[in-house]
């Protein structure tokens, strides 16, 4: 009996995704370790442990909690970008424009906070709408002109970047290319913390952004699996023609999906910049990686909102961990390298599932054959 339940356990999709993700992580870390060995064999073991330990390198619990807070602060926007990509992926759309939607959100949030001196709630809404509009543009092009969302998304990433650079030049520090500190100009634009900072040794960057991002993930899970809208979105994604046949407005659904995707990425940016943790550099000439890292997080999370919560945290964990490496020996990008390996291995998740299912089936078959009569008897006995 115990054996049977374990078979059932292994054949559950969620369990399989988790196993596959863990396997990807292990292989990714091993390859990362090999890379560290090649760069400098002497410190490699220590380095990989440093990456994994991240904030645990601090001896006191208080310091560790504080830096756990920092990791979470950056994990929240990553999660939002991952959710953006994932939600669109359910509708059959690859929202690589999440990076640009994130940029638009950042621009709108900071402009409202610094230039217009708006309270945080308005800044959040502005980020949501700005990201959403970037999404809608892609959606309209896709629906009505059949422009591939990857192409239009990537182009908008750059349009977004330079527009935001221009927009925020008015609110930058005189001596640096960075925007002025939100906390110093407009305290009301900083997201409230509701006392959560106390849990994290008074880390002032810990705000409601973190629980909000998790709540939004759960909300998306509910929408996708339990609502009419989720039913339509997924049908449109899997079978566009069947969706049209059944009278779903598939064009409208594509636009709404991309709006939601854009809004999620835009909010993600506000979740970071309205904590004051980071400042925008108006001279930056590459699109922030947050949107692209979201792709990694969503695939590592098995394309499931709940799985993505953990995946986002993990990716941010090793990225933050990478910053503790001795910069004289190892480039801090080693964490990005490991994440990249993991993303690459994400294709492997599917392969792993197929192999596992094949193996389970073969085992079932072997187990079933001799006692066919026996199992029939059991059934009879139950009746």
């Amino acid at each position: 009996m115990g054996k049977k339940s374990s078979e059932g356990f292994l054949s559950k999709p969620a369990v399989q995704s988790t196993l596959a993700a863990l396997l990807c992580i292990v292989i990714g870390l091993l390859v990362g370790y090999v890379a560290l060995l090649i760069i400098n064999p002497a410190g490699a073991t220590e380095a990989i442990i440093t990456i994994l330990k991240n904030y645990f390198t601090y001896p006191t619990k208080a310091a560790a909690m504080k830096y756990l807070g920092n990791t979470l602060v950056k994990a929240a926007p990553l999660l939002m970008c991952a959710l953006s990509i994932q939600f669109c992926y359910q509708a059959g759309l690859f929202n690589i424009g999440a990076a640009g939607q994130y940029v638009a959100g950042a621009g709108a949030a900071l402009f409202c906070a610094l230039q217009l001196k708006m309270p945080w709630i308005i800044c959040l809404l502005a980020a949501l709408i700005a990201g959403g509009i970037f999404g809608i543009i892609v959606g309209l092009l896709k629906s009505y002109l059949n422009v591939n969302e990857v192409i239009s998304g990537i182009m908008l990433n750059w349009i977004g970047l330079y527009t935001v650079n221009m927009l925020l030049s008015g609110v930058k520090e005189t001596a640096s290319p960075y925007t002025v500190q939100v906390a110093s100009v407009n305290k009301g634009a900083i997201l409230p913390s509701l006392g959560m900072e106390k849990l994290f040794s008074n880390n002032k960057y810990v705000t409601i952004a973190i629980p909000l991002a998790i709540l939004i993930a759960i909300l998306l899970k509910v929408i996708l699996s339990m609502t009419v809208f989720g039913y339509e979105i997924k049908a449109t994604g899997i079978a566009k023609d069947a969706a049209k046949y059944s009278g779903m407005k598939e064009k409208r659904n594509v636009i709404i999906t991309l709006f939601i995707g854009g809004a999620l990425a835009g909010l993600g940016a506000a979740f970071l910049f309205l904590t004051g943790y980071e400042q925008w550099s108006v001279t930056q000439s590459s699109v922030p990686g947050m949107g692209f890292n979201g792709i990694a997080a969503t695939f590592l999370g098995g394309l499931d909102p709940i799985g993505t919560i953990f995946a986002s945290y993990f990716i941010q964990h090793i990225t933050s961990g990478g910053s503790y490496l001795d910069k004289n020996i190892y480039p801090s990008q080693i964490s990005d390298f490991i994440s990249a390996i993991i993303i690459y291995l994400c294709g492997f998740v599917l392969f792993f599932k197929i192999q596992l299912n094949g193996w389970l089936r073969a085992r079932d078959e072997r187990a079933k054959q001799p006692p066919i009569v026996q199992s029939k008897k059991e059934e009879g006995g139950n009746k």
Partner: protein, 514 residues
């Protein structure tokens, strides 16, 4: 001794199990040299599994395969190829933008210092083409040629590789009647030249016409092998289905009632070319009648239905359903106004293949209060119990009931699911497009009964069919479509397939009033 066996290929006592199902249960098929051997069975009877075992895609748990009397192991398709076994798949495996010749030599190219030697290949292909009467244009691109010529390309592919054992998997499903006749001739020629042919089909007439012997499978079990000369269609269908089947549907005479669907001067543009696919078409469908649109594939039937169902916009004309103008109505509005549509392509339009059966069964109704709350949540309990009801009522068979993923169901049961969904909406008008295409006798009988039941219940039925036999047996009125126009109206009781054929081919036409 080895080469002297009477049989080209023998599959002896093959048993292949899948979880929860025995796909082949002790099946024996022996293919004589130079014969056409039909393999007959309903959908899900295990024909494809058996051929996959022969092709090395699956390994049988029990049983052996012999070639020329010698036991062989076939572990993968390459082994099968080395043994001279070739297959024409139901869905062709051709590169669309390559020429016929390129497709034939693909994977078996003759090269000299890495450079293609196409001239030799061309000579060989043309020689084969002449020898077996397989007319192809070697330089035409696959995307430009007819389905019949694509199939001949597939056959040439097998011959080019000197295959001796040819498997045809439901080769007639995609062909027009004339092309079917041609294929039958080709198969006979091949057999005459010493090739051994396995012909997988569930079309009895074709098997009677072309095969020497026939082996029948039913639910994975081997039923028997008969000589075609000593049998008839009734016996074959009994062997296949396990009971007597009514090959011709019967129905009572019925006086049609008021007009349900009224179409006036409808014109629908074509996606393929700049002409209109449907030109100025007018007709009515009344309560309690089955009106059938007959015609050869590609004469505008598909676009006509797209225009009626709203999948495509008509550029002019007027459509009225039960007195309501629906010319500009959305697909959803038409559906909720009493139109049901069994689509031509059940995989593309009819089902969300990766959704469960339950989700597919509510595809036209999920938004109704019965299945969703005002807040927009799906009522999963209601959806599942409704699905269970339809599964029971329409005898939809699947491995895991309502939770089964549509993709994993057999073609016949997928179609049953669509029919259950569309009929259970209790529509005023049921549009059925080739509802029996690719299905076996048992399923066809079932579907015909359902269509006639709709008619008898006083609903209007518009049937689009390419099968003249079907047209003649179940319709009350026949409209023939040719090049986007309706060219004749007939009463099935007073017309003949030959007369219809003349109109379908465009040789004759008459004016019809709406």
């Amino acid at each position: 001794m080895a080469g002297n066996s009477e049989y080209a290929i023998e599959m002896l006592n093959i048993t292949k199990r899948f979880p929860g199902i025995i796909a082949n249960d002790n099946v024996t098929v022996q293919l004589k040299k130079g014969e056409i051997h039909a393999l007959l069975g309903e959908n899900g009877a295990g024909k494809s599994t058996l051929m996959s075992v022969l092709f090395g895609l699956y390994q049988a748990e029990e049983g052996i395969i012999k070639k020329d009397g010698v036991e062989v192991k076939i572990n993968n398709p390459n082994d099968a190829n080395d043994l001279g076994i070739g297959m024409v798949h139901q869905h062709f495996k051709l590169v669309q933008c390559f020429s016929v010749l390129d497709n034939i030599i693909l994977g078996d190219e003759t090269t000299k210092h890495g450079i293609l030697q196409k001239d030799e290949a061309r000579k060989k292909v043309m020689a084969l083409s002449d020898k077996y009467g397989l007319k192809v244009d070697p330089d035409a691109k696959i995307e430009d040629i007819t389905v019949g010529m694509q199939q001949r390309t597939e056959i040439l592919k097998m011959l080019y590789r000197d295959n001796e054992i040819l498997i045809f998997d439901e080769p007639t499903a995609v062909l027009t009647p004339a092309e079917i006749d041609e294929l039958m001739e080709i198969m006979k020629n091949l057999a005459k030249e010493g090739k051994s042919i396995l012909f997988i089909s569930h079309k009895l007439a074709e098997i009677m016409a072309v095969a020497d012997r026939c082996s029948v499978l039913r639910r994975g079990k081997y039923i028997g092998t008969v000589n075609i000369a000593d049998t008839n269609q009734d016996e074959l269908s009994r062997m296949m289905v396990g009971r007597d089947v009514q090959l011709v549907a019967t129905k009572e005479d019925k006086e049609p009632g008021k007009v349900i669907l009224h179409v006036e001067n409808m014109t629908v543009p074509s996606k393929l070319h700049h002409n209109n696919a449907v030109k100025n078409v007018s007709f009515d469908v009344r309560e309690g009648e089955i009106v059938c649109i007959a015609g050869i594939d590609g004469n505008g039937q598909t676009e006509l239905v797209y225009g009626l169902s709203g999948l495509e916009n008509c550029t002019s004309g007027k459509i009225t359903l039960s007195g309501k103008d629906i010319t500009h109505a959305s697909i959803r509005e038409r559906s909720t106004s009493g139109m049901s549509h069994i689509p031509e392509d059940r995989h593309k339009h009819g089902l969300v293949m990766d959704y469960s059966l339950a989700y597919n069964l509510v595809l036209q109704r999920y938004f109704e209060p019965e299945f969703s709350t005002k807040a927009g949540f799906l009522k999963k309990g209601a959806i599942n119990s409704y699905a269970d009801k339809l599964i029971e009522q329409y005898d939809i068979r699947s491995s895991q009931g309502a939770a089964t993923i549509a993709r994993s169901m057999s073609g016949g049961n997928q179609q049953k699911a669509i029919i259950a969904r569309e009929i259970d909406k209790n529509p005023d008008l049921l549009i059925a497009v080739q509802p029996t295409r690719g299905l076996d006798v048992g399923a066809i009988e079932y579907i015909h009964k359902q269509l006639i039941a709709q008619r008898d219940a006083g609903h209007a039925v518009l049937l689009v069919s390419l099968e003249l036999e079907e047209v003649m047996s179940i319709s009350d009125r026949i409209l023939v479509m040719y090049e986007g126009e309706l060219v004749g109206e007939f009463n099935p009781k007073t017309t003949t397939p030959e007369e219809l054929g003349l109109y379908m081919a465009g040789a004759k036409r008459k004016e019809i009033g709406a």
